[in-house]
């Protein structure tokens, strides 16, 4: 049988692959097919009937999403099947479907949050009648509780079941379903539990009507009054493509953009609903500690306070730490400044991970996220990808559902990852004896090892790193060694070499020396994840955007910009450099971070050699060429694994995972009410489930 099938679409003969659905063939021919239930990334349901087309000779119009072109018989005279997508039959059929859909759909567009971006609204304009022939009562459906993120107005539901298919197939939570039948059908979660998934917000995008909408965004804005800025998310290390929607200077919501190599079209909940955290706990003016209390100051006062405290003659007494949310430009500027001043105590590895700068392959996700779909075996070490990078975990699940993996195994705590795996053991010592799984790894063509931060922050992190690098298969076209990061700051830091210089101390060394008084000036760039109690004896400068741990310990606070408020480069766990864009201006007197460091350098008498962001980037690209190629993941071409880590003994101990509470991992999420509510709801739900 030939792989191509001939079909006549709207009078034009075309040859299309046999595996295509009729809808794909029609779209390929340039026809627009309306649809509600069909979605490219979900299974085909074929229940909305909106995509009907005419197959000349067939008794009834055909649902094009559920009919394969391979099933089309040629006409009796031997000519290929004739499909019409805009004939009178099709128009009448779609008008009929639309009339049925609108029978029970409320006419509440003016108070519906989906208004303006509603598939039903748009298609009603094309196929709907201007009046209703239905004189009976409309049905009403009780609203369901789906947790703090998804608002439900179930009377609007048209039962396309996209949400059910998404949560079952992609998110891997089996709580959603369609109860009853016919007019009494209802979408609900089992016993109205909150939808316990880190990807639940995507059902809002998938819902073609206003039945599932965003709860935090409810009644806040209309889509046409929002200014849309395409940017990159930094809540985890995936680097999801996002669109930041602002009204005035306020971020109103965050939506995903399609990026096939990174997030497809999904967005994790923390990234989507973080925006209210951008409005509270903000540092909007400089502060200087006077008489033991942080007091508002002018920029000049603050910069001078830093300059006068800076022990210029003793650079060994100075240290700088950059944190989770530090952008590439600010880290570069800080590194340049500190190096000029002779400071060697630099570290971007806030969590103390035993990764080393230099060989990029040694700390990146070398198989790439899209590469997961080619992998055939997977070993996860000291990580819970579901909590650390939900979107990446959805890729693993996708591959799992395709039966692509010959085996998945976990070394470390056993958590619900939404797919089955062999739990080899809690202890890191298991790595030396993988049992039968060692053969699976050895025989696999494209095996993957995912090494989480939980494994790297241990004292024997370097030994685990070396062990896994040795286990991994790396060569032409495939590198199976993957470090899963939790935050973008450290990756950029490693790329830039924001690590201890000659004789410099790392994070732990800096903290210990600060406690003992050996270091008496510490510069924190967005660093909140360290033990700030050890900084009591030092003069601490905090540059960042939220009043969290770092700011509390500071003697001078320099207010910076959050990720939606600056043009900056971010590196994801694959090593993909992406450009984040400014969607709104930072609040009050806060400034973009590179500009703060440029101003500070002048006060310190070590003026940095750039006056604009472009000049800074030119210097950055010249010094570190990896930043110059945007949106490229090095993958297997990134380098060899020789010399990664340091061979040594691996302690027989379990792992402490980096993400204890998915909803509260960084300063922005800790300032967000929505995230606090999620944390509370889901923790309570889990405790209740565990008690049962």
């Amino acid at each position: 049988m030939s792989d191509l099938v001939k079909v006549i679409i709207d009078g034009e003969e075309r040859e299309v692959p046999r595996s295509w659905s009729l809808m794909q063939a029609c779209e390929d021919a340039g026809a627009e097919i309306p649809r509600f239930c069909y979605h490219e990334r979900l299974s085909v349901a074929g229940n909305c009937r909106m995509c009907l087309v005419e197959w000349v000779g067939a008794p009834k119009p055909q649902a094009s999403c559920a009919l394969g072109v391979g099933d089309l018989r040629p006409d009796r005279d031997g000519t290929p099947a004739k499909i019409n997508t805009n004939s009178a039959v099709v128009k009448k059929a779609r008008e009929g479907v639309m009339e049925f859909l609108l029978i029970n759909h409320p006419l509440d567009c003016p108070i519906c949050d989906q208004g303006g971006e509603c598939d039903l609204q748009d298609q009603a304009v094309a196929f709907g009648s201007d009046r209703s022939r239905f004189e009976e009562n409309k049905r009403a459906v009780d609203d369901k509780n789906m947790g703090p993120l998804v608002k439900t107005i179930m009377t609007r539901c048209i039962h396309c079941t996209r949400c059910v298919r998404f949560s079952t197939e992609v998110a891997g939570v089996k709580d959603m379903g369609l109860l009853g039948r016919g007019e009494n059908a209802e979408i609900t979660t089992y016993l109205e539990k909150a939808l316990d998934s880190e990807l639940s917000g995507n059902v809002i995008d998938l819902c073609p009507v206003g039945a599932l909408t965003s709860k935090p965004y409810a009644f806040h804005a209309r889509p046409w009054e929002l200014r849309k800025t395409e940017s990159v998310d930094v809540m985890d290390a995936v680097g999801t493509a996002i669109r930041v929607d602002c009204r005035g200077r306020e971020v109103m919501r965050i939506m995903p953009r399609t990026h096939e190599d990174v997030n497809e079209e999904w967005l994790a909940d923390k990234s989507r609903f973080i925006w209210d955290g951008l409005k509270s706990q903000r540092l909007d003016k400089p502060f200087v500690r006077k008489d033991g209390k942080l007091q508002p100051a002018t920029w000049d006062e603050a910069l001078n306070a830093v300059a006068s405290a800076f022990p210029k003659s003793a650079p060994q007494k100075v240290a700088a730490i950059s944190g989770q949310l530090a952008c590439s430009e600010s880290q570069f500027a800080l590194k340049e400044l500190m190096t000029t001043l002779g400071v060697a105590n630099l570290d971007a590895r806030e969590n103390g991970a035993k990764l080393t700068a230099g060989n990029r392959a040694g700390y990146l996700f070398n198989s790439t996220i899209a590469g997961i779909e080619e992998a055939d075996a997977l070993l996860i070490v000291g990580s819970n990808p579901r909590k650390e990078t939900p979107v990446l975990n959805a890729r693993i699940r996708k591959r799992y559902l395709d039966n692509g993996f010959k085996g998945i195994a976990v070394v470390g705590p056993a958590n619900d990852l939404t797919y089955d795996y062999d739990h080899l053991g809690d202890s890191a010592a298991t790595l030396s004896n993988l049992g039968a799984f060692a053969d699976v790894l050895r025989n696999a063509e494209r095996p993957m090892i995912i090494l989480g931060q939980g494994a790297l922050t241990r004292d024997d992190g370097a030994a685990i790193l070396a062990k896994c690098a040795k286990l991994a298969k790396a060569g032409e076209g495939w590198n199976g060694f993957n470090v899963l990061h939790t935050d973008p700051g450290m990756i950029a830091g490693l790329d830039l070499g924001f690590v201890p210089g000659e004789g410099g101390k790392d994070v732990q060394g800096i903290l210990d020396s600060a406690e003992s008084g050996e270091i008496d000036f510490v510069y924190l760039l967005n660093a909140d994840g360290i033990d700030t109690t050890k900084l009591k004896n030092a003069f601490v400068v905090y540059q960042g955007h939220h009043g969290d741990a770092g700011a509390h310990a500071a003697d001078v606070i320099l207010p910076g910009a959050a990720y939606t408020e600056k043009n900056a480069l971010w590196v994801n766990t694959e090593g993909r450099v992406q450009r984040g864009a400014r969607a709104a201006f930072p609040p009050g007197e806060a400034k973009e971070d590179w500009a703060i460091l440029r101003a500070l350098s002048e006060a310190l008498g070590a003026k940095l050699p750039f006056d604009t962001l472009e000049e800074l980037r030119a210097k950055l690209f010249a010094a570190h060429s990896s930043f110059a190629s945007l949106n490229v993941a090095p993958g297997a071409a990134g380098g060899s694994l020789d010399g990664v880590g340091q061979a040594g003994a691996i302690a027989d101990a379990g792992f402490a995972l980096p993400v204890a509470d998915y909803y509260l991992t960084n300063v922005i999420s800790r300032a967000s009410k929505t995230m606090a509510e999620c944390s509370q709801t889901f923790n309570a739900q889990r405790t209740a489930a565990a008690a049962e």
Partner: protein, 199 residues
């Protein structure tokens, strides 16, 4: 018909009797490995036969036996109207209200139910009866009719139906099938067609 929901009052637990449990195993063994979910309807039906209705613990138990998410089992249980999601009386009357029965007096039977039992879906105070209106049960030749338990009672009138309920309540034996005296759906009285050779 309103949306079908789980009953507000639920028992604490459900367990199949040992015989039924053995039966569920044989039922599940009918399907290939990994396709045990196919047995969901027969297991739910057996659970309902055991308890009279399907409680949440029963649904959870079936889900556990078949290794299915609870919501998938609940979907099936709510889809089919013969699964009772609330307790029913000892004698569960399913009254056909579809057109042929309706034309032949189903409304009068409903009045009898209302008088003798109560509102549809409610269990009478003595626990003996409950009733609900259902769609066509396929006995139109003998309309109007009701199903009580597993038996059909046909050719009813308000009087004969009231008597039937009284007899059931008193525990007297009753006759299933046509209540007007004819055999199955033969003509009432004399044969009108195929009379030749009918003796």
């Amino acid at each position: 018909m309103a949306a079908r929901r789980l009953s507000k009052t639920q028992p604490i637990s459900f367990a199949f009797t040992p015989e039924n449990l053995a039966w569920t195993q044989s039922e599940m063994a009918k399907y290939p490995e990994g396709r045990q979910a196919s047995a969901v309807i027969s297991l739910l039906w057996r659970a309902q036969e055991q308890e009279g209705w399907l409680s949440k613990p029963a649904i959870d138990e079936v889900a556990k036996l078949l290794d299915m998410p609870e919501i998938r089992v609940l979907e099936v249980a709510t889809f089919y109207s013969m699964f009772n999601l609330a307790p029913v009386g000892e004698h569960f009357v399913q009254l056909c209200g579809t057109t042929p029965c309706w034309l032949r007096g189903a409304d009068e039977l409903k009045t009898v139910c209302r008088d003798k039992i109560g509102a549809p879906g409610e269990v009478s105070s003595d626990g003996k009866f409950s009733w609900s209106e259902v769609e066509c049960l396929g006995a139109c030749c003998n309309a109007p009719m009701v199903q009580i338990g597993n038996d059909y009672y046909e050719d009813l009138t308000a009087e004969s139906f009231a008597k039937l309920l009284d007899d059931l309540k008193a525990g007297k034996p009753v006759k299933a099938g046509s209540q007007s005296g004819r055999t199955t759906s033969e003509p009432t009285g004399e044969l009108t067609t195929l009379t030749e050779g009918a003796e």
